[in-house]
């Protein structure tokens, strides 16, 4: 993480000012020349000799009262704030986590407290809690409480959307543990920002209580009270108010600045200014990168990301840019549009887009070139469209940017949508992104990019988050769109198999250098570069046809033992929609069941029913012959231990605040309490090795791990409690094929070595092809077909399976392939 000098400096300044003010408050009473109540001179006397800051409304020395007045205020407001946050955070988190009656009850109480006039609430609470500092402290805490509950509840709801919380619950962790260990660390930044301003509120509630006669008995002093009781003499002796006000101001400002700098906002991309000018426009190539060198500034010096890259692209050609992750593919693609992520600096070379040196252009000119000549499709459909914009609004904005007059837009929008084979009726055009499927969202983004017939279209791994069928349909349409004098297409991809069918040329990047480039068929058949060969090999390994033919890892046919997992007549609903209906299957000990099918078919819901995270279901599920309760609460600790969930999204399956060692040690400690700390560390190391990670990963956090490594840690965590069944939810979908392949291989090895049964949900048919065992095709909430993997892959009897198989792209193999009979109706 780049050390940001100014933020750090500001934190030190704020910290020292805060320390000074609190020091003044705590040590003040000892230094005060006069006791706070001693009348020294005429009230509101000016600053002179014995009274350097003049006197206040009682004639007491302002300096002495200032020194004496800080302690009660600081301690009481911090105590009240502490109590309020303790109670507020607990109530807020519980309400968010439990939902249902607890949630409505907590919200109802906060609403009632919020609707009480604050000042009336304060006076009643003090009467109930008794006058004096303790009573005022309690009253202040209760006055602050409702707001804190609402802020914490909202923030907790967001944290709960991450998988690591559900995984912890599925592991049988107590709600208290989940809140304190998993949720609270992630609320810190929200609470800090809120605490800053809440501190101001606490100080003034205490001062008002004091002023109304509820606080400390006179002649005790407190800064807030001093401000209020001396306001009469503001014009006569302003210091009597100005000095305590300044003290309070310093206290609050430094506290807030410290909190702000402790949790800095992420710096947005700041475009450094670059020397203007550029080389002569080159007529024929639409896009040319020449000698492009880009460095990233890391804590230990610059690291080259792109090293003298040369690339051209002519109109109507589709170039696939491939390479292992971290090879600079995305940086090159974005540089073609003149964009460098924050932290990257352009060392040498240039990028020429339709004759313009985009890396040298400034905002307005760059924006005009992009809007006229370029189109861009982002990677993750979930965040590529603004949640508030409807489909028509989104497309309209892009057309507006191209200067298309308002009148002409509706027609252009409909044609753009039709071009990417999406319905162009009003109902669809009025939909919000959350009402579209992943594939539809990517098509909308594509439609927007192509709306003005750009010269160059850049796509950054557009299909990585889509299931195979949707992805291949999208790419086929893309290929067809570029055919008839379409734009030049630069497609960053990681799935070589998909590229085989649609790319004209393939360029392989490794370590920022172009190691190979050539026609797709030739590069895929005879890769020259080492990186190219590794990629093709990994892709070939994923080929279904070859696996089906080859020998599947046969298990010695065990005697028909009692199934570890038996499901009979399982159905599930959400609200009034039926998700699953009449599901039945068995899983023998050490067996493997892959559940495949189109997205939205109910695969994930099935897994959540097994894991106990979806309780709106009927039918029964038996683990080791014992029925499993619907929700988590009804299950015994033993059941929760023997059934472990591995979540889908590696980015959200691990708690960002915890180290790898702590993530694995927690379930391990619960399963094998007899281990002492040293034994525990050793066991963690052994588990890490088992999942193919060496021990130096133990001290890292999830932010420093790649997708594959995170998935392995999630697996290690699941294995830590010695489960009988591993529930894997799309564990390969977010990984590039080479990494996915290694993870699947790991699963297979674990099944052999540990005899753990697997239930793997996936949309990628290559997974069951590698794992073997049995397979079930799930679509529209029903099991269409089930049986051994080999039999379903080669001679499937059900059209759904047939469609799935068609979706899997083939790869030109070096030797002539046996004519695979595949007919498509």
């Amino acid at each position: 993480m780049v050390r940001n000098r100014p933020v750090e400096r500001r934190a030190i300044v704020a910290g020292s000012v805060l320390a000074a003010v609190i020091g003044l408050a705590l040590l003040g009473p000892l230094l005060a020349p006069h006791p706070p109540g001693e009348v020294v001179d005429m009230p509101y006397g000016p600053a002179r000799g014995a009274t350097p800051l003049g006197t206040d409304h009682l004639g007491a020395d302002v300096l002495s009262r200032l020194l004496a007045g800080g302690r009660t205020l600081v301690l009481l407001s911090l105590a009240a704030l502490g109590v309020a946050y303790l109670a507020g955070a607990t109530a807020g988190m519980l309400a968010a986590l439990r939902g249902g009656r607890t949630d409505t009850a907590v919200l109802r109480v906060t609403d009632v407290l919020l609707s009480m006039p604050g000042f009336l609430l304060l006076s009643v609470l003090v009467v109930a809690a008794g006058r004096g500092p303790a009573g005022v402290g309690v009253a202040t805490a209760v006055v602050l409480l409702p707001d804190i509950v609402r802020v914490v509840r909202a923030a907790t709801l967001q944290v709960l959307q991450h998988d690591y919380v559900e995984a912890a619950l599925a592991r049988g962790e107590s709600q208290r543990h989940v809140l304190v260990r998993e949720v609270l660390p992630n609320l810190a930044s929200v609470l800090a920002a809120d605490a800053g301003v809440r501190f101001v509120g606490a100080v003034f509630v205490i001062a008002t209580a004091g002023f109304l006669g509820y606080g400390a008995q006179p002649p005790a002093a407190d800064w807030g009270l001093m401000i209020l009781e001396n306001r009469d003499g503001l014009s006569l002796q302003p210091l009597a108010v100005a000095v305590p006000a300044a003290a309070v101001l310093l206290l609050l400002l430094s506290a807030n600045l410290l909190l702000d700098s402790a949790f800095p906002a992420r710096q947005p991309a700041r475009r450094g200014s670059r020397p203007a000018g550029g080389s002569a426009a080159d007529p024929d190539a639409v896009l040319r990168l020449r000698g492009l060198t880009v460095d990233a500034d890391t804590p230990d010096g610059p690291r080259t990301v792109l090293d003298g890259l040369d690339l051209e692209l002519r109109r109507g050609r589709l170039l696939a840019l491939v390479g292992p992750s971290g090879s600079g593919k995305t940086t090159a693609a974005l540089a073609a549009l003149g964009e460098l992520r924050p932290g990257l600096t352009h060392r040498a070379g240039e990028a020429v887009l339709a004759g313009h040196a985009v890396l040298h252009l400034q905002d307005r000119a760059l924006r005009r070139v992009r809007s006229r000549h370029a189109g861009y499709v982002p990677q993750d459909p979930r965040t590529s469209l603004a949640p508030m914009l409807r489909v028509a609004g989104h497309l309209g904005e892009y057309l507006r940017a191209r200067g298309v007059p308002r009148a002409a837009r509706p027609e252009l929008i409909r044609s753009a949508v039709r071009r990417v084979r999406l319905p162009d009726d009003d109902e669809f055009l009025r939909r919000h992104p959350h009402q579209l499927s992943g594939g539809q969202r990517q098509r909308v983004a594509l439609a927007a990019a192509l709306a003005h017939r750009p010269d160059v279209l850049v796509l950054d791994e557009p299909t990585s988050a889509l299931d195979q069928a949707t992805a291949s349909a999208l790419l086929a349409d893309l290929r067809q769109l570029c055919q008839d004098d379409g734009p030049a297409v630069l497609l960053v991809a990681h799935d070589l198999a998909q590229m085989a069918s649609i790319a004209d040329e393939v360029a392989v990047l490794d370590g920022g250098r172009l190691v190979e480039r050539g026609p797709a068929a030739q590069v895929l058949a005879h890769p020259q570069s080492a990186a190219g060969r590794r990629l093709v090999e990994a892709a070939r390994g994923a080929l279904v046809q070859d696996r089906a033919a080859a020998e599947l890892p046969q298990h010695a046919p065990e005697p028909p033992a009692r199934p570890v997992l038996a499901v009979r007549g399982l159905s599930a609903r959400r609200g009034d929609r039926t998700l699953l209906d009449g599901i039945a299957f068995d899983v023998e000990p050490g067996g493997c069941l892959s559940v495949v099918g189109p997205s939205g078919g109910g695969k994930t819901t099935l897994l959540r029913c097994l894991a106990g995270l979806h309780d709106d279901r009927a039918g029964d599920i038996e683990l080791d012959g014992v029925p499993l309760a619907r929700g988590l609460r009804g299950r015994s600790p033993e059941q929760l231990r023997r059934l472990q969930l591995v979540p889908q999204d590696p980015h959200s399956s691990l708690n960002p605040r915890h180290t790898v060692e702590r993530i694995i040690a927690r379930p391990l400690g619960r399963h094998r309490p007899e281990l002492d700390p040293a034994g525990l560390r050793a066991a963690v190391r052994e588990l890490l090795e088992r999942v193919g990670l060496d021990e130096e990963f133990a001290t890292r956090r999830s932010a420093q791990l790649s997708g594959g490594q995170r998935q392995r840690v999630a697996l290690a965590r699941a294995l830590a409690s010695g489960p009988a069944v591993l529930l894997c939810d799309e564990v390969t979908s977010a990984l590039d094929p080479p990494t996915a392949a290694t993870v699947v291989a790991l699963l297979a090895r674990l099944r052999d070595e540990l005899g753990v049964a697997l239930v793997v949900v996936t949309h990628d048919l290559t997974v069951p092809a590698r794992l073997g065992g049995r397979m079930a095709v799930l679509a529209d909430g029903r099991i269409k077909e089930a049986g051994p993997v080999g039999q379903l892959l080669t001679a499937s009897a059900d059209p759904t399976t047939e469609d799935l198989l068609l979706g899997v792209p083939g790869l030109p193999s070096p030797e002539p392939r046996r004519a695979a009979t595949r007919t498509r109706p």
Partner: protein, 320 residues
């Protein structure tokens, strides 16, 4: 009608709101019963003998058990009659109607200035996060909120009214007409109220804008050639203000419910001053009347905030 249809949800939240109002009124009634002394003592203590006070207490019915009095009040309140003030027997509705109007007016004008200002400043600072402009705005708003409300108000009066004489020092409409007829009366109270409420809202909008501006969607729009102005308007702003909406609703309720210091400092006849007076003189019907208005405002604005959040963040709607 299905259990989760929009109509069912609306009815349920309405029932919730009524429940909250009922609970709030019971809590307020309990509060006034808990505090020592009662309206009769408050009115005549020190000016008439204890036996005359007992006579008045009986006259006002204060010697009945508290739950009977609450039942009596509730029974009438449901029919729209808020009862009469213990202090001088005038109907509570007359006593607080004008003041409620004044407070709503002052609150509305203050909100009309506060909302655009906090969104504008939050957006401006958020788009320049970390740079000098951002630190300036954050520092200034923080300093404003750290100053007590009445010190800010006092400084404003000294400067603009007494010192320069541009504005009236006391925001008091002349007999018979509403503050609307003399708008200059509202300037100083509004400036004071806005200065106090600004900091929290600006900080929240700023945080929201920073996240939204760095989001993939906004980045994709910029790469797609959409000019920065449109990116800010359609991509950054709607997502940016979502976190601030519930807090703004809280401040709105606070502003509309009457603010004590602004009403005291500028002599503005609002609800808060009346509430303080009614609580001091143990005038329970007036306290309940005002508390009901404040409670209704708070509940309505919370419902509005939830609805607005639904509009701004449609995905969240079916999550809740």
């Amino acid at each position: 009608m299905s259990r989760t249809g929009p109509l069912a949800r609306a009815l349920r939240s309405l029932a919730g709101a009524v429940g909250t109002l009922l609970a709030a009124s019971l809590l307020v009634f309990g509060a006034t019963a808990l505090v020592p002394g009662d309206a009769a003592a408050a009115r005549l203590a020190g000016r008439a003998g204890p036996e005359r006070i007992a006579e008045l207490r009986h006259g006002l019915g204060l010697d009945q058990p508290w739950w009977q009095r609450y039942g009596h009040w509730l029974w009438h309140a449901v029919q729209g009659d808020l009862g009469t003030s213990y202090a001088n027997g005038t109907p509570v509705a007359d006593l607080i109607a004008a003041r409620a109007g004044n407070s709503l007016l002052l609150g509305a004008v203050a909100a009309a200035l506060l909302l655009p200002l906090s969104v504008g400043l939050g957006l401006w600072a958020g788009l320049r996060a970390g740079r000098a402009a951002d630190r300036l705005v954050s520092g200034a708003t923080l300093a404003l909120v750290s100053l007590p409300e009445f010190v800010t108000g006092t400084l404003l009066v000294l400067l603009l009214a007494v010192g320069l004489g541009w504005l009236p020092a006391v925001s008091l409409p002349s007999a018979g007409n509403s503050p609307l007829s003399q708008p200059e009366l509202l300037v100083l109270p509004v400036l004071t109220l806005v200065s106090v409420c600004l900091a929290q809202n600006v900080r929240l909008v700023r945080a929201g804008v920073i996240v939204a501006s760095a989001s993939d969607a906004a980045q994709a729009a910029r790469l797609g050639g959409v000019p920065e102005g449109r990116v800010v308007l359609r991509w950054v702003l709607p997502a940016g203000i979502v976190p601030a909406v519930p807090v703004m609703a809280r401040y709105l309720a606070h502003l509309l419910g009457g603010t004590l210091v602004a009403e005291t400092l500028f002599g503005y006849p609002g609800l808060a001053a009346a509430l303080v007076n009614a609580t001091a003189t143990r005038d329970t019907p007036v306290v309940l009347g005002i508390a009901l208005i404040v409670a209704t405002l708070t509940v309505m604005l919370n419902l509005l905030a939830d609805a607005l959040a639904g509009v701004l963040n449609p995905a969240a709607k079916n999550l809740s």
